[in-house]
Symmetry: D2
Subunit: 397 residues, 4 copies
């Protein structure tokens, strides 16, 4: 099918040219004496992206799911009681994992479109005088519903309760794109992957841990080997890995971290806010709603757009793919057919957003939606243009 | 600057993934016994793209300008009288070359925005009873003004006058994108380059010649060596080249010809018509005019858009580049500042056009144009959507 | 440092040009409707490489170590008794993993340079009338010592004892390079990775399982999620994955399997035998010994070469790297300093072996070894040349 | 055919990884405002590689042959008398070009294997009191015979005769590899191409000219356009080109010049001397002779090796290619069948030379040559190894 395939999903995201060039490599010896010259700075740069100054990061050839598992295996023990919440496909899957791995999961179910129930967390933590909860889990950015939760709030709930539980955060679709501050928020295990804000191919699970997580690790009793912190640390400290690392992606990671840090994390976050606002302006102009219940939950990395009740979102997605060579994100599980998603994270600018919105607008019209040509695209253009207009819009953001 | 740099110029065009993959190669021996297995099919495929069944093609490591020169050097002699016309920067440059190389050029100057003056050609050819004109030159698609000329008409003028002059055609920005039929139109030298419809990096001049051009070559007296037909033919016949060829681009050309032929040339042309019409719908909705004087001159590969008299088109272009990371085509020479150009050829689809139009719309608004957000983009969306709408629009095309 | 860095280690191996071209890709949507068109044939091709017709394969974004863990987690339960043996670094590490994961490991320690102690296995299996052993582990090709073990023999031991234990085989550095026949040998879990015989970058753990392993899976009680068979099967059956797969490597895997199957597995094995014999001819001519104790243990994918007692193999390796830009394999753990290794597997031919041998010969001379210039390289040349010579040598192989 | 295809010809040479990565690019706009940030430093770096401080360089999408033609067209006029010599295929072809372009060529024919006849040049220049010779041509490194000529000597001959003729030098297979000093030698037009010492794909003709060549250009009367200095200068001065440049190769050139300059030109030359000496040691050990008549003519970039009278060199070449996947250089024209060539220039180190020598040794043995296994390879190993040995050999060089 002619023309580029447009990738407007919330990951994998578009790989920048510089990164792609850096990964077009011949293989190299992961035991070479100069290998640490490549790897050691990478660990440091990744920590900077997480804003983690006290702990360390682990880079596993795996995925975000692998890093979820690594976090649990390395810091907890079978039967440990933990507090979790479910409000979308990915928070759901992490809870499912915790249960299957043998944790005693106290799970709070919320409507999809809600975020982490910070107040309920606060209540339960206060009530837990015996500190039975060993960890509190929170999905920072629920990719399925386009909801960003208040991690700082979860930390406050822990602190207010003087509770020592670890704070485990899924930052797969937030780190490197929207505000994430591991130090300030006291996140003990922050999970991410290569194929979202890090702008790389899938294949790397990234786990950033605090010094308290490392402390907890010493008594954590899950069996582990592939994901074992101690094996990694023993080798990472010298710039090596306990088994053959995914060197090609590491080479890309080196460059993508440089790009994030050179742009400046605050600028990266502001850019995501700016582009996401353009998408939301279009959604509003189309007369549609986001799956996220309230503005303070709106995600700046992905928008899940609710279609009218008499429509099936899958028609939009399949039309976009088959007629316009464009991948939009599908609705997962409970919201299948009810939402389509536009990913707006990573290596992105206004022109790419115009593709996403233009195609979404065309696909909705093709699918019989009552959408006026130029309504959403025009709203985005209006949002993106003009010094005055921009200032005004930014304020409204 | 974050996000892809959008290339919305009329060449170099976007390189398809398959082509880019094919060119990511280690070097190879251009004298290897199996080298002809690569090259011989390429010659055949390129001929098919030109619809040239009687003659042959030459592939020079050079550019379209090189192929212009090759055409002249190999089929004409110093002092030969030729008929040319100027109505844009590229027709102008080819005439300038002809003059500098020592041809006796009878040049017809037309207003920029006009095309080849077929009727005037017809008159002069009829008047030339002694057949002094050795060749007639025509720029098929004037890239500077977005004008497509009537080459079949020029052929009719030659035939009506029973005139034996060679027909030399610049197809740099037309071949492989819009209708081009070397056999049917009796084109003797058809010039192209790698970086437009062939969807490759720049670096290859492509010249497709008829059997009459090969006949004329035998008595052509220009000094030549690098571009010499005879040197090329001697080696090409065996699948080799007289000097080291640009093998990397040849590898890409092999794939890009496959892509064009697999899509089907008529489909490729129809796609360009379809996408160009979307761009023209936007231009109309913006309240602007094309540089091309009449609908029958509208080019399906590039639109030169005239800005209001009180505006400078360079402001649009520089804003698009600096603020939206997008390259639009500048106005060249006489139309500098008066037009900006959108290239819509090569590896292109609706989503990419939406980027071009969205950015142009934003850049015009930023530059103070009286353009309504969503006007042009909306008109393109309207054009591109809906089975009914599409049929209707195609008819109007 | 000028010139290519020569990769003469037993993995990562050299990536073929075709594979590298195939991996130079933009990202794609792993939920796209046509994604299974890419993935489904890959599963089939990988099964062919393992010669596994009854079961299925799992492709994890991980490594060989990950696939080791996946095999254990998915087919066994904590506390299960298993039979293992240690005779090199990798058989050692797998045993270590099994112990740490909570298996009851009956481990037989052999001298490094020996292989799987098939006779001892036979004895213990015969003695195990109550079928306490749930699985028998065997490292097919011990990469650290260059030893290939007799897996068919282990299968015979199991069959002779009528023992139902699963047969778990580490084929990381054998599959796709030397004879491996999962069906014929009754291997239940065959572990491999992307960066050896599959000629890809590291980043993929490959696990090929028999129908009996899938049966055992139903009652296996290890906690698991990332490596879970059931999650994979549920999605793989439709051509998808339970989490974002490493699509870039899958694209490479598709091509590398084609290359192996097009060459023909028997031809691939014969090529490795042929090239390995050349290396061994050189070792013999240098007056050195292999770490592998007997000819029937010699590995055709890697040779661990024992240096004289008064020398340190690390001098050879560091000289090769710093002076000749060549990575040789180091001695691991017990044999550190005592051996250096030459990997001769994957995308390899005689010319590449000449680099490895030439550099090894130079590095040994530089390190003060009593090695005659041209002795080893000459022996390899003699081995590789001449129809007569070749027939003769092959017989001797 | 398995394993890398070894490229042991005198160009195209092996492309370094860094260069290949740099060329794996999306297209860009050659009229973008920041395009000069890429191009301007390239011109400066290329001049440094030529050691040209007074003049400038021209970068044509073409080849070395194109740069030959550019040199003639831009500095001479039809009918100009010039002095040339022929002693191999490339000096022959340049003379042929000069004749076909209409120069009055006074050509001195020498036996193939000789170099530029400096003394005869001196005689004729002294005898030319009226300064009829407008230019003197010299092939610095005759790629066909592996002969390096004394360009400084030609300059002395000119100076001794107080002769104002331009000095035109073919440095295609010397610049960037062996000593070349345009300033010191007073070279007016130095011709090169991308695919030799510049370690790039073919596709770029590189011409470095002195200020005197630029002066001569003002009165040079050849017709020209594609290769025209004035068109180039007008645009190059601002960082642009008169027509679409081969941007992809320019991106590679930027990196390859950095690599040459970072290594240091003297170090690059010494490395070529060192590696060439290893090849020559092998040739000597094989009992064969070079085509170059005397040691002072030996080229450090390519060796043309004469086979015994009863043998055909093409058997060696075809065996190397079909059996060992290795391209050796063929004998061209007069020496076809009599020599095979090993290129030893560009991105090269000892390990790569061992491949070339190992394969050549095997192919000769396969072809029935009386060559002892390990003779040539061993001689190279002896040459390349040992501090003492190295010092000794370097002295002998």
């Amino acid at each position: 099918m002619p023309g580029y395939t447009h990738l407007c999903i919330p990951g994998p995201t578009n790989v920048p040219e510089r990164v792609r060039m850096a990964m077009n490599v011949a293989m190299q010896d992961m035991r070479a004496p100069d290998f640490p010259e490549l790897t050691k700075p990478i660990f440091e740069k990744v920590q900077k992206v997480f804003r983690n100054t006290s702990g360390r990061v682990f880079l596993y050839p795996s995925s975000g799911t692998g890093a979820w598992e690594a976090a649990i295996q390395n810091t907890l023990s079978p039967g440990d009681k933990v507090l979790m919440s479910r409000f979308g496909q990915f928070s759901n899957l992490w809870a499912d994992m915790a249960i299957r791995m043998g944790l005693d999961v106290d799970v709070i179910d919320c409507e999809w479109g809600e975020g982490v129930p910070v107040e309920k967390y606060a209540e339960r933590l206060k009530a837990d005088k015996t500190h039975d909860y060993k960890a509190v889990f929170a999905t920072h950015n629920e990719t399925a519903t386009g909801v960003t939760s208040d991690i700082a709030g979860v930390r406050r709930a822990l602190d207010d309760a003087n509770h020592p539980a670890l704070l485990m955060v899924d930052g797969v679709s937030s780190v490197g794109s929207i505000e994430f501050d591991q130090d300030a928020w006291g996140v003990d295990c922050a999970v991410s992957g290569s194929q979202k804000g890090f702008m790389l191919p899938a294949g790397l699970g990234i786990l950033s841990v605090s010094k308290w997580a490392l402390e907890a690790h010493k008594t954590a009793e899950f069996g582990r080997c592939f994901f074992s912190f101690e094996d990694q640390m023993k080798h990472n400290d010298n710039g090596y890995f306990p088994y053959t690392p995914a060197t090609q992606i590491l080479r890309g990671l080196d460059v993508s971290c440089d790009m994030l840090l050179d742009e400046g994390l605050e600028n990266v976050w502001a850019r995501h806010r700016h582009l996401a606002s353009g998408v939301r302006a279009a959604v509003d102009a189309w007369g549609l709603k986001l799956c996220a219940k309230r503005p303070e939950l709106w995600s700046d990395t992905v928008s899940a757009i609710v279609v009218p009740e008499d429509k099936d979102a899958r028609d939009v997605i399949s039309t976009a793919y088959s007629r316009y060579n464009t991948s939009l994100g599908t609705g997962l599980d409970k919201v299948m057919g009810k939402v389509f998603r536009i990913g707006h994270l990573g290596w992105l600018n206004e022109g790419m957003v115009m593709t996403a919105l233009g195609v979404a607008e065309m696909a909705m019209i093709d699918a019989g939606f009552d959408v006026k040509p130029g309504s959403g695209t025009g709203a985005a253009v209006a949002h993106f243009t003009g010094a005055a207009g921009r200032a005004q819009t930014m304020a409204a953001e």
